[in-house]
């Protein structure tokens, strides 16, 4: 039996009833029924039933919330100044701007009384940006003149994709720090090749049927290769909900197209014309666009819950309670605000999104997370360790 981090005693929450207080189910997965501590001992059952590890029912321990402290006004000031400096320096400042913006978002996220830190070296991101710029110019400008260049850039991109993904995830993980400890990403090129090169071929061969499964296996690869000290991230989400989510999203899109199509068809049938006028076409197009947007946000929210609810770090579980309706409302107001403000409300939208995402996410510690320690390394090698990447590739995967 272990206890919660004593610094942060859990608070009782509405709708949840756990008289057990600080007591936790066994961390060793012993097949004991969860019993409230201090309650009268239940007469022992002749054969204790095999129970799974602590299920996500109210009896389970309370999640530690992620708390986001960001302020829209503050972030707007940071965003506008850094973006302006980026423009005025013809893009050179973009690396510094990116680090500052990301540091702000990470630094405003709190878990168990500590903030996250982002320590990327802007110079390395600049190198990565320059490489990307060269490839982009090769693709867009020289590729027009010499298609061979364009095809080689695409070919290079495809062949290098597994490596790029690994570098990007590593860079991102290594520069994210919590309580002075860097996250790590196990650089497995083989797994990356399988997930990012070979499985997409399978998607094509199965005409997309494999796609939801691939999303799961991509997530699985990313989660399972992350570490924090000697704690391993684990992923055990089942495939079914991935398929269910994409089916529902597909149904939404199909519904939007259907409604738009029926509208146009009805109009054409009634007026006996072959060309629908604008006042019919534009709402249809808008409806179609909204359908895509809704489906997209829906699948994000759906998978967010499913993925995080089946992600652990060692035995510490994550819980996600993103309400799909609220998420859609949030994203629709964001979209409207960004469109109306010609993009100036983008920082506001980011802060809102981060705040709600953090509020929906929690960590259910199985015992104290304090015992996580740097894996097999001594104090001396700590300085500038794995972050010594020269190229800062970061695609925000």
């Amino acid at each position: 039996m272990s206890t919660f981090d004593p610094v942060h005693p859990q608070q009782p929450r509405a709708g949840e009833n756990d008289p057990a207080g600080p007591l936790l189910p066994h961390a060793d997965h012993s097949p004991q029924p969860v019993t409230p501590a201090g309650a009268a001992p239940i007469p022992p059952v002749t054969e204790p039933p095999l129970l799974p590890p602590p299920p996500a029912i109210p009896a389970a321990p309370l999640p530690e919330p992620f708390i986001f402290h960001g302020k829209a006004a503050e972030y707007f000031r940071i965003w506008i100044v850094n973006t302006l400096l980026t423009l005025l320096t013809v893009g050179v400042f973009s690396a510094w701007a990116k680090v500052r913006k990301r540091r702000y978002l990470r630094g405003c996220t709190e878990l168990l009384g500590h903030r996250f830190d982002y320590r990327a070296n802007p110079r390395r991101i600049l190198v990565g940006n320059i490489i990307m710029l060269v490839l982009f110019l090769g693709y867009s400008v020289f590729g027009v003149v010499y298609p061979a260049v364009r095809y080689s850039v695409i070919g290079l991109g495809v062949v290098m994709l597994p490596w790029i993904v690994v570098r990007s995830l590593t860079f991102n993980a290594n520069n994210t720090v919590y309580r002075g400890m860097r996250f790590r990403f196990k650089q497995s090129l083989g797994g990356s090749t399988l997930v990012f090169l070979l499985e997409p071929i399978l998607i094509a061969l199965t005409l997309g049927i494999y796609y939801p499964k691939w999303v799961r296996s991509k997530r699985n690869y990313i989660v399972e290769n992350h570490r924090l000290g000697d704690a391993y991230f684990r992923f055990n989400a089942s495939t079914g909900p991935f398929y269910a989510g994409y089916l529902l999203a597909g149904a939404m899109l199909f519904g939007a197209v259907l409604i738009a199509g029926i509208g146009i068809a009805a109009y054409l049938a009634i007026t006996k014309t072959t060309q629908a006028p604008l006042f019919i076409l534009i709402p249809s197009m808008v409806l179609y666009g909204l359908g895509i947007f809704t489906a997209r946000q829906f699948i994000y929210a759906w998978l967010f819950n499913h993925i995080w609810n089946h992600t652990r770090i060692d035995e510490h579980r994550f819980t996600a309670r993103l309400k799909i309706g609220r998420w859609l409302g949030l994203q629709f107001t964001n979209l409207g605000a960004i469109l109306i403000s010609a993009g100036l409300l983008y920082p506001w939208a980011v802060i809102r999104t981060q705040r709600y995402t953090a509020a929906s996410l929690g960590l259910v510690p199985a015992g104290s997370i304090d015992t996580i320690s740097r894996f097999g390394e001594t104090k001396g090698s700590a300085v500038g360790d794995t972050a010594a990447e020269f190229i800062g590739l970061d695609f925000g995967l």
Binding site: L87, Y104, D117, Q275, L278, A382, V383
Partner: protein, 717 residues
């Protein structure tokens, strides 16, 4: 200075609160019940101030101290460290007024960059791009496009139409410097494109839809794109715009979502619209300079937009092209000419609605139709005075003869107008039950350029078809089209006094205007068309005379090149098996050295003969064409006759021709029955008389026409 923080050693995730004290001798004392550290502050790295995000102190041994007391840290740093760039940025980020100013500046910078900076930069850069690179881009793009679209299906004659319009727009341009014309088939998309490297792509659908003047308008627009290097500029601009949008919205991955794509699309389409406006302006200026009526631009725009939803001005921001109404401001729309007046229908009101081919309809309604009222504009030397030719039909046993409903005036070829050359083209054609003109045959022409102009005009004519037994039927007709110039050199058309009553024959209503494979029917069709069908009906002497009349009288005898070698065409096996004969009119240019260039089939009785005829002509050799002793290039058209059955007739026709070769009967081969040299020498008429002879032929009933037109005219009844 004393403050508090949380200490993590970086080895284990455990953290505990500590008391932090900055001493005067530049050390940091870290104290807690379990820990007492003293570190030189010089070895500590402080994270930059960023809003109210907690500060991190990175100790040299890898430990981290997290503190929310930003002010104390700032106060310490102000005392012991020189100000850093990051601190300056924090000051900028701290104040709302600076943020407001930054917002304004941001808007100004972004709009100036997008409106002025990038266009200016792309313009400058595009001018610096070497032509070879530009050519390479054009080739690559063309290659990519030809992969998406199938090859052109238009007739060589139509392609030549476009080419001649291009020459009309750029009369001073040397052939080598002419933009290259490419043709692609793009179903449902009448369109033209300008590619870098002086390439203009015209889709078959546009050629079918547009009249000559409208094609000229389109070409003028595309030439504007070429002139200003819009292709290159748009590549440069969209790349740069993508970078700007990326810089503003964050990273490249934002482009995959709505917030990233929308601004990029808006900016890019804005550029596209400004290109279109520039090209329109260029088209406007060029059309005025070349004397092309501006209305042709708007008539074409209307045709293109017919049946397409219009976005209207408010939504044009989302479009790659400006709103049509804005574009048409430059190009006045024809107002009074747009009302279609049925020609010659005074006594026969056009009551019976006729089945119309849908492709033809817009061309007819929006085309360059002009009624008699338009003749008042004779003061303008470029306006052709148009007097309606009276179609008086001599029809055998029809209830109702065909009545012309609308016609297009032919364009007076500009070169010939300037050279003050007049001429006549006699055309035979069939009016099908829909009232459309088909199967046009050139009976004779004084100049190849008149021929094409006349054919183009005739193709667009519309008739109320002839009716027999209450049903519309195929009617054969003949019309002479005269190209005459007024006293001031302005073209006059179809002067009534020059009018020659057309001969009309009727075709069996069952006969399709396409040639069937039934030899008997072919004979009938051929004869009703006035077309000689070698080996079937006509004797060699008749054929010879007919062909003399049908040959083009467009060259002065003095420069007519003598043929050195005339390879006979190979009779196509498929046509031989089908027991078909026919004829191909091959147009080609004999260059200064006597080689045949750009041979193509101007028209033919069967497509199946075209390739063989063109291939043969391509191998011909001539003596160097000379005018006043100087080598020149000349254009020639030659009828190549494929005769199969009546070998004796062919042989007889060749008797007088020593250079002709007779092939054994068991190996049927076609050859040109009338070698040019022989033909010209036998004519023995001075060039001037030649011309008048043709004119006379149009006025009087020449025996030739009788022979060609009459033999089987009763067949149809």
């Amino acid at each position: 200075m004393i403050t508090h923080g949380k200490y993590s050693d970086g080895i284990i995730l455990t953290s505990f609160p500590v008391r932090l004290e900055f001493t005067d001798d530049g050390r940091l004392l870290v104290q807690s019940p379990d820990l007492a550290l003293s570190v030189s502050t010089k070895e500590i790295r402080f994270s930059d101030r960023l809003g109210n995000v907690p500060r991190f102190l990175y100790l040299p041994d890898g430990a981290t101290i997290e503190t929310r007391d930003n002010d104390t840290i700032d106060a310490f740093l102000a005392l012991h460290r020189s100000a850093q760039g990051s601190h300056l940025i924090h000051i900028l980020e701290k104040h709302s007024r600076i943020a407001a100013a930054a917002t304004l500046l941001f808007i100004v910078v972004v709009s100036c960059t997008l409106y002025y900076g990038l266009p200016w930069m792309s313009f400058r850069l595009a001018q610096k791009v070497p032509p070879s690179v530009e050519k390479q881009i054009g080739r690559a793009t063309l290659l990519a496009m030809s992969r998406h679209f199938s090859a052109t299906g238009t007739h060589a004659r139509d392609r030549k139409r476009v080419q001649s319009q291009l020459q009309r727009l750029l009369p001073d341009r040397a052939d080598a410097a002419m933009p290259r014309l490419e043709f692609l088939s793009m179903p449902g998309s009448p369109n033209a494109f300008a590619l870098p490297g002086d390439i203009i792509i015209v889709s078959d659908e546009l050629i079918n839809l547009a009249t000559d003047d409208e094609i000229a308008a389109v070409l003028a627009h595309e030439l504007g794109h070429l002139e200003k290097s819009h292709g290159l500029q748009s590549i440069l601009r969209s790349s740069a715009a993508l970078l700007v949008v990326t810089a503003v919205t964050g990273d490249l991955s934002t482009l995959t979502n709505f917030a990233g794509t929308l601004p990029f699309m808006l900016v890019n389409n804005g550029y596209s619209r400004s290109f279109e406006e520039e090209a329109d302006q260029h088209a406007h200026d060029l059309m005025i300079a070349r004397g092309i009526d501006l209305k042709h631009f708007s008539t074409l725009m209307r045709k293109l937009n017919a049946g397409q939803p219009q976005l209207g001005r408010a939504l044009s921001y989302f479009s790659t092209h400006p709103a049509t109404e804005d574009r048409l401001k430059l190009f006045p729309a024809p107002s009074e000419e747009r009302e279609e007046t049925p020609v010659g229908s005074a006594e026969k009101p056009d009551t019976s609605p006729l089945p119309k081919t849908p492709e033809r309809t817009p061309a007819e309604e929006d085309g360059t139709f002009e009624s008699q009222e338009a003749g008042n504009a004779a003061a303008d030397p470029l306006t052709i005075e148009l007097i309606e030719p009276e179609f008086t039909y001599r029809i055998i046993s029809t209830d109702q003869k065909p009545v012309p409903r609308s016609f297009f005036r032919p364009n007076y070829p500009e070169d010939l107008r300037l050279a003050k050359v007049e001429g006549t083209v006699i055309l035979d054609f069939i009016i099908d039950p829909d009232g459309n003109v088909s199967s046009i045959e050139v009976i004779r022409s004084t100049h190849i350029d008149f021929t094409s102009a006349a054919i183009r005009a005739l193709e667009a004519w519309k008739f109320q078809p002839g009716v027999r037994d209450g049903k519309p039927v195929h009617i054969g007709a003949r019309v002479p089209i005269e190209f005459k110039l007024g006293a001031q050199g302005q073209p006059l058309n179809w002067n009534k006094t020059d009018y020659h009553p057309p001969q009309t024959t009727e075709i069996k209503s069952s006969a399709d205007t396409d040639f069937s494979t039934d030899p008997v029917q072919i004979i009938q069709q051929a004869n009703t068309l006035g077309m000689p069908q070698l080996g079937y009906t006509a004797d060699a002497a008749t054929l010879r005379r007919i062909n003399q009349q049908r040959a083009s009288f467009h060259l002065e005898k003095a420069i007519y090149p003598k043929p050195i070698a005339q390879t006979p065409p190979v009779y196509p096996m498929s046509m031989r098996r089908a027991n078909l004969g026919g004829e191909v009119m091959v147009d080609f240019v004999v260059d200064e050295e006597g080689h045949v260039q750009t041979a193509y089939a101007a028209r033919s009785t069967h497509r199946g003969f075209e390739e063989a005829a063109v291939e043969a002509v391509q191998q011909w050799k001539f003596e160097s064409p000379r005018k006043d002793g100087i080598p020149v290039a000349v254009r020639i058209s030659v009828p190549i006759v494929f005769a199969l059955n009546d070998y004796e007739a062919v042989k007889a026709s060749l008797d007088k021709n020593p250079s002709g070769t007779v092939y054994p009967r068991d190996e049927p081969r076609a050859r040109d029955l009338y070698p040019m040299a022989d033909f010209i020498e036998n004519l023995d008429i001075p060039a001037k008389e030649l011309k008048s002879d043709v004119n006379d032929a149009c006025k009087s009933d020449s025996p030739v026409i009788k022979e060609s037109g009459t033999p089987n005219s009763e067949d149809g009844t």
